[in-house]
Amino acid sequence: MPREDGLPPGTLVMLVLRVLTAGPLHGYAIAQRIAQLSSQELSVEEGSLYPALQKLLIKGWVKAAPAVSATGRPVREYRLTAAGRKQLEHEQDNYRRTSRAIDAILESA
C-alpha cells in the first residue's frame, strides 16, 4: 500500500523512538517533531501514529504519563524506557546497514 506520509515502511517506530530520546513528548508533539526534523519532508498520519504508540506501550519501549498540553488539555506524554533505548539502537543499526547497502547498489548502477 503506497504511503502518503513519505515514510519508508517499518521506520515509524524507529523515528518515534528517536524523537523521544530528547525527552518525553505527547502524540501531537511527536508528529510535529518528526515533520520539523525532516523539514516537513515526512509527516506522520494520526491513523498510523496512535496504533504505533500502542505497540510501543505493549512492547514496553515507552511509558505513558499524564501531562497537560500547551493548550491546557490533559494529554499523555510518552517517555522512552531503557528497553526502548536498546531497541532504538538496534533498529538504527539495522536501518543504517540496509540503507548503506541500498546506496551502494544505487551508486554502482
Binding site: E46, G47, Y50, I58, G60, R73, A83
Partner: protein, 894 residues
C-alpha cells in the same frame, strides 16, 4: 522483549481500559485542536478503535457481545432453555457420577501422595481352586521383616479379618455400644502412607507402647457416621470396649483404607494397645481356629500379650529400592516366596477385578450413550433454531459478517447451554452421590466405602464433559451458519434449502440409543425380578438373623451354651424356631474341605466342598426340608457316633445315582486327623453363597459333636449367627432377642431379615436397574422430543405443498403417507442400528443377569415396540396438523 512482560501489560490494559481509552480520547482531542486544519484529523472514533485493537483484545469484546446476545436469545425462549439445561444436567450429571465412581475405584483408590511407591508384601498360596494371593503375615513374620537391611520404613496394620480388628466395640458417650470396623496400626502407619490427619495430630511413637495412654484416630467415615462430623472432636474421650480412649485426630475424606473389599475402618488404634482395647472374648486361639496353647506358629511372646495375629506390612520405597527389597526378600528365610507388590494393586478383593471392570464398563457405556442422546437431541433443537433464524443469518452474511463470525455466534449459544448444564450437574452431583451411596459394586465393595474424589479432579472431569458437550452440540448449527449457500437463501426466501438430512441423522442416533438403553433397562428389570423370585431352597419369609458376639471370657465355652441360648429364644412369644448356625447367602459355610472320602473311596472334586455346622432345629428354623432320614437330635451326643446330613448335590457328587446315601460313610481328613461320619439325612439344595449356587454340594455336621474344636473357631471369629423364625418383623422382635441374649452373656448386633440380606446381595443389579431405568426413561422422552421436532419440521416445510395437494383433492391418507415416508427412515434405521448394537453388546451384561440372557429376543422385542410406538406417537401430533392445513390460507402466505 520478554513475552510475559508483554502479556502483563496487555492484561493491565484490559483491567484499566476505560481510563486508558478516555485518556487517549482526550489526547486525540488535544491533537486535533492543535492541528492547523482540525478537519484533517481522521475519524477520531475509528482511530480510537484502531488503537484499542492494537492491544489484541478484540476477540474478547466480540466474545462478550456474542455471550450477551446468546443470553438474550436464551432468555427469550425460557421453555427451550430449561428443557435443554435439564437434559444436559442429567446427562452430564450421570456421567459425572459414573466417571467419579471409576476414578474412585479404578484410577485413584488410594489417595495418598505418590501411591505408586507404596508397596506391600504378598505370597501366593496354592489352593485346590487355584493360586490365591495372600497379603497377611503373622505378627512373628512381621517382626522378622523389620530386620531387613534395605532402607525402607515399614508400617504394620492388623488385617480386616483379624479378630482384633473385628472386636472393637465403641461407646461414643451415648451409652450405646456399637461394633465398628477398625485397625490396629503401628505409629508410623500414616507417615509411611504420606497422610496427615485433617484434624488433630498423627500418632507418635510414644502412643504405640504397651503402657501408653490409649489414643485413637478416626477415619472421615467414622467421624461423620459416629460423631456427626463434630469439628471439636479432637480431645474428646470415648470408650473402646470400656477403656477410655482419647481422640487425637481425624483423617482426610479422600482416604478410605487400603482394603476396599472390607468395611471401611472407622477408627485406628495403636498396635501395642490392642491387648487392652480389643475385646476378643472367648479363648485365646492362634487365629487359625485352633485354641492357643502357647506353642507352635504365631504364638511367641508377642502374641501372648497382643491379640493381633495377622498383620499387613506396608513400606514406602524409592524407585531403586523395590528391586533391592525384592532381592533381599528372596534370600530372607521365611520370606523367600514373598513378592513386593504395589498397595494400589491389592486393594480390590481377589478375583473381583474382571467383574468390577465389566460392571463399571457397562454403566460407563450407558451414561456415555445418555450423553450422546442428550447431545443429539439438543443439536437437533439448536439446528431447528438456527433454521428458524436463517433469514437473520442470511441478512448478516449479506452485510459482510464473516461465516466464522456467524458460526461462532451460534456456537457460543451451544457453549452457554453446555456450561449451564455442567453447572447444574455440579450442583446435582451431591444428590447423585447420595443416590449411589447405598449401592454395592460386584465383589461386595460398598460405594460408600470408596474414597471421595478430590475436588480439583471432580472439577476437571466436569469441565472436560462440558467442553465435549459444547463441541458436539455446536457442530450441527455451526455447519449451517458456515454454509456457503446462506447468501443464496435471501433470493429464494421461504423455500430454503433442505438441511433435513442432518436433522434426520440426529433423530436416527437418538432412536438407536433409545433402543439400546430401553433394552438394557428392561434386561436389568427382568433380571432383578428373577433374582428376587429365586427359589433359595429355604423359606425366606419370617426368617430373622442376628450376629451373635461371644461373651468375653477366658473360659472355653461349649456348643451347649449356644444351644441353651437358642432354646431360651425359642420360648419367646411369636418365635416358632431358633438355632445358631450360618445363614445361607449371608455367612455361607463355616469351612471348605478338599480331602474327602466316600465309603473309603477318594472323592475327586475340583471345587472345595462346603461344610456347615448345624444343630437341632437348624433346618426347621430355615424351613429347609429334609428329603430323607432325620434331623440332628439328642441321640447325636458329643462323644457318640459322628453323624452328617448331606444335601442332594453332595449325594449326587459322592455316590452314583440311585444310591440311598443313608448309612453310607464320609471321611473328612483335616490337620492330620480323620473322622468318619455316618449319613443320617438328606436335605434339599439351598443357594448357599450366591443366588446362582443352584447345585452346590454341602455337608452338614452336628455342631454339638464338635464342641471343643468349635469354641476355638468361634472365639477366633468372635461371632456366630443366630437364626430365628418368627411371625413378627425384625424390628419388632429385636429388643426381646437382645435382652434374652444379654441375659445369657452374649450380645446381639445387626438384627435383619433374610430379605434385607438378599437385597444386599443383588445390590449391583439394583444399581444397574435404578440407573438404567432412569436413563432408559430419559432416552425415550428425548427420542419422542426429537422425533416430534423432525416431523413438525417436515410438516412446516411442506405446508405449501400439502395445501396444494389437498386443494387438488389428495386424500388425507396420501398426505399422511407422504409425511411418514419422509420421517420414518430415521426411525427404522435407528431401530435397526440400535437393536444390532444392543444385541451385540448384550453379552456384556450376561454376567450380571439372573435367569435371563443378555441376547434375549423377548426383551429386544419389548424395547423395539416401546421405542417404535413412542416414535410413532410423537409423529402423530404434527402429522394430524398437516391434515388440518387449510389450502386457501397456505397459498395466501407470501
Amino acid at each position: 522483549m520478554s513475552r510475559p512482560g508483554e502479556w502483563f501489560r496487555r492484561l493491565g490494559y484490559l483491567l484499566t481500559r476505560r481510563r486508558v481509552d478516555e485518556a487517549l480520547r482526550q489526547e486525540m482531542e488535544a491533537h486535533r485542536e492543535m492541528l492547523d486544519e482540525p478537519a484533517r484529523f481522521g475519524n477520531a472514533r475509528r482511530l480510537r478503535e484502531d488503537a484499542h485493537d492494537a492491544w489484541g483484545w478484540r476477540w474478547l469484546d466480540d466474545l462478550s457481545r456474542d455471550v450477551r446476545f446468546a443470553l438474550r436469545t436464551l432468555r427469550r425462549s425460557p421453555g427451550f432453555t430449561i428443557a435443554a439445561v435439564s437434559t444436559l444436567a442429567l446427562a452430564i450429571g450421570a456421567n459425572l457420577a459414573i466417571f467419579t465412581l471409576i476414578d474412585r475405584v479404578v484410577l485413584h483408590p488410594l489417595a495418598v501422595p505418590d501411591p505408586a511407591h507404596l508397596v506391600t508384601f504378598q505370597r501366593t498360596i496354592q489352593l485346590r481352586a487355584g493360586p490365591r494371593p495372600q497379603l497377611w503375615m503373622t505378627w512373628e513374620d512381621a517382626k522378622d521383616l523389620r530386620t531387613l537391611r534395605t532402607p525402607v520404613s515399614l508400617a504394620l496394620s492388623s488385617t480386616s479379618n483379624d479378630r482384633a480388628s473385628r472386636a472393637i466395640a465403641l461407646d461414643t458417650g451415648s451409652g450405646d455400644t456399637l461394633s465398628v470396623p477398625g485397625r490396629f496400626i503401628s505409629a508410623n502407619f500414616f507417615r509411611v502412607l504420606g497422610l496427615r490427619p485433617a484434624l488433630g495430630r498423627d500418632f507418635v511413637d510414644a502412643d504405640d507402647q504397651l503402657t501408653a495412654s490409649a489414643v485413637a484416630i478416626l477415619s472421615d467415615r467414622g467421624w461423620r457416621t459416629r460423631f456427626a462430623a463434630d469439628a471439636s472432636i479432637v480431645g474428646r474421650t470415648i470408650r473402646v470396649n470400656n477403656v477410655l480412649v482419647l481422640i487425637v485426630g481425624v483423617l482426610p475424606t479422600t482416604f478410605a483404607g487400603i482394603d476396599l473389599g472390607a468395611p471401611t475402618p472407622e477408627i485406628y488404634l495403636p498396635l501395642m494397645t490392642a491387648s487392652r482395647l480389643a475385646d476378643i472374648g472367648g479363648a485365646q486361639t492362634d487365629g487359625r481356629g485352633r485354641p492357643w496353647t502357647g506353642s507352635g506358629p504365631g504364638s511367641g511372646l508377642v502374641s501372648s500379650i497382643s491379640p493381633v495375629v495377622n498383620v499387613m506390612g506396608i513400606a514406602r520405597v524409592t524407585a531403586g529400592t523395590t528391586a533391592r527389597l525384592q532381592a533381599e526378600l528372596s534370600t530372607h528365610g521365611p520370606f523367600a516366596n514373598w513378592t513386593v507388590v504395589r498397595v494400589a494393586d491389592t486393594m480390590l478383593p481377589f478375583g473381583s477385578w474382571p467383574e468390577i471392570r465389566q460392571f463399571v464398563g457397562l454403566l460407563a457405556t450407558a451414561v456415555a450413550l445418555t450423553l450422546l442422546i442428550g447431545c443429539a437431541n439438543l443439536a437437533g433443537l439448536l439446528l431447528a433454531r438456527a433454521e428458524a433464524r436463517r433469514t437473520e443469518l442470511s441478512v448478516r452474511a449479506a452485510l459482510g459478517a464473516s461465516r466464522t463470525r456467524l458460526a461462532r455466534q451460534v456456537a457460543v449459544e451451544a457453549a452457554l447451554l453446555a456450561a449451564a448444564g455442567g453447572a447444574a450437574a455440579w450442583m446435582l452431583d451431591r444428590g447423585l452421590g447420595r443416590m449411589l451411596a447405598p449401592f454395592v459394586l460386584p465383589g461386595g465393595i460398598p460405594i460408600s466405602a470408596l474414597p471421595a474424589t478430590s475436588l480439583p479432579r471432580l472439577f476437571g472431569i466436569t469441565l472436560g464433559l462440558v467442553v465435549l458437550v459444547a463441541a458436539i452440540i455446536a457442530i450441527a448449527p455451526a455447519t449451517l451458519a458456515m454454509s456457503r449457500r446462506l447468501s443464496l437463501d435471501l433470493k429464494r426466501r421461504g423455500g430454503g434449502s433442505s438441511r433435513l438430512g442432518l436433522a434426520r441423522g440426529l433423530v436416527g442416533v437418538q432412536v438407536a440409543i433409545g433402543v439400546v438403553l430401553t433394552f438394557s433397562a428392561s434386561l436389568f428389570i427382568q433380571s432383578l425380578s428373577n433374582a428376587l423370585a429365586t427359589d433359595v431352597g429355604f423359606q425366606r419369609d419370617g426368617l430373622v438373623s442376628a450376629t451373635l458376639a461371644m461373651p468375653r471370657t477366658n473360659q472355653m465355652f461349649g456348643s451347649e451354651a449356644l444351644d441353651a441360648l437358642a432354646a431360651k429364644i425359642r420360648e419367646l412369644p411369636d418365635v416358632s424356631a431358633a438355632s445358631v448356625g450360618p445363614l445361607p447367602l449371608v455367612q455361607g459355610s463355616d469351612f471348605t474341605y478338599t480331602d474327602l472320602r466316600a465309603d473309603g473311596a477318594r472323592v475327586d472334586s475340583t471345587a472345595p466342598i462346603d461344610v456347615v455346622y448345624a444343630a437341632a432345629d437348624y433346618f426347621t428354623t430355615l424351613g429347609q426340608p429334609l428329603v430323607r432320614g432325620r434331623d440332628f437330635d439328642d441321640r447325636d451326643r458329643p462323644n457318640g457316633r459322628p453323624v452328617m446330613i448331606v444335601n442332594d448335590a453332595a449325594a449326587r457328587l459322592l455316590w452314583s445315582t440311585g444310591t440311598d446315601p443313608l448309612e453310607h460313610h464320609v471321611t473328612i481328613s483335616r490337620v492330620g486327623r480323620s473322622t468318619d461320619y455316618a449319613v443320617i439325612g438328606v436335605t434339599q439344595d439351598v443357594r448357599l453363597k450366591t443366588l446362582r449356587d443352584a447345585n452346590r454340594p454341602v455337608l452338614y455336621l452336628c455342631r454339638p459333636q464338635h464342641a471343643v474344636y468349635l469354641s476355638g473357631f468361634m472365639a477366633g471369629a468372635g461371632q456366630a449367627s443366630l437364626i430365628v423364625r418368627t411371625s413378627r418383623d425384625a424390628s419388632a422382635i429385636a429388643s426381646s432377642l437382645r435382652a434374652t441374649a444379654s441375659a445369657a452373656g452374649f450380645s446381639l448386633t445387626d438384627v435383619t431379615t433374610i430379605s434385607q440380606a438378599i437385597d444386599t446381595l443383588v445390590m449391583p443389579q439394583r444399581l444397574g436397574r435404578a440407573l438404567l431405568t432412569l436413563l432408559g426413561v430419559t432416552a425415550i422422552v428425548l427420542t419422542v422430543v426429537g422425533m416430534y421436532g423432525l416431523v413438525a419440521a417436515v410438516v412446516a416445510r411442506q405446508k405449501k405443498e400439502i395445501g396444494i395437494r389437498m386443494a387438488l383433492g389428495a386424500k388425507p391418507r396420501a398426505i399422511v403417507r407422504s409425511v411418514l415416508t419422509k420421517t420414518s427412515a430415521p426411525l427404522l434405521t435407528g431401530i435397526a442400528a440400535g437393536a444390532a448394537f444392543a444385541w451385540w453388546g448384550g453379552h456384556l451384561a450376561d454376567r450380571f443377569m439372573y435367569g435371563i440372557r443378555g441376547a434375549n429376543p423377548v426383551t429386544m422385542t419389548i424395547a423395539i415396540v416401546l421405542v417404535a410406538s413412542a416414535g410413532l406417537a410423537a409423529a402423530w401430533l404434527p402429522t394430524r396438523r398437516a391434515l388440518r392445513v387449510n389450502p386457501i390460507e397456505t397459498l395466501r402466505v407470501d
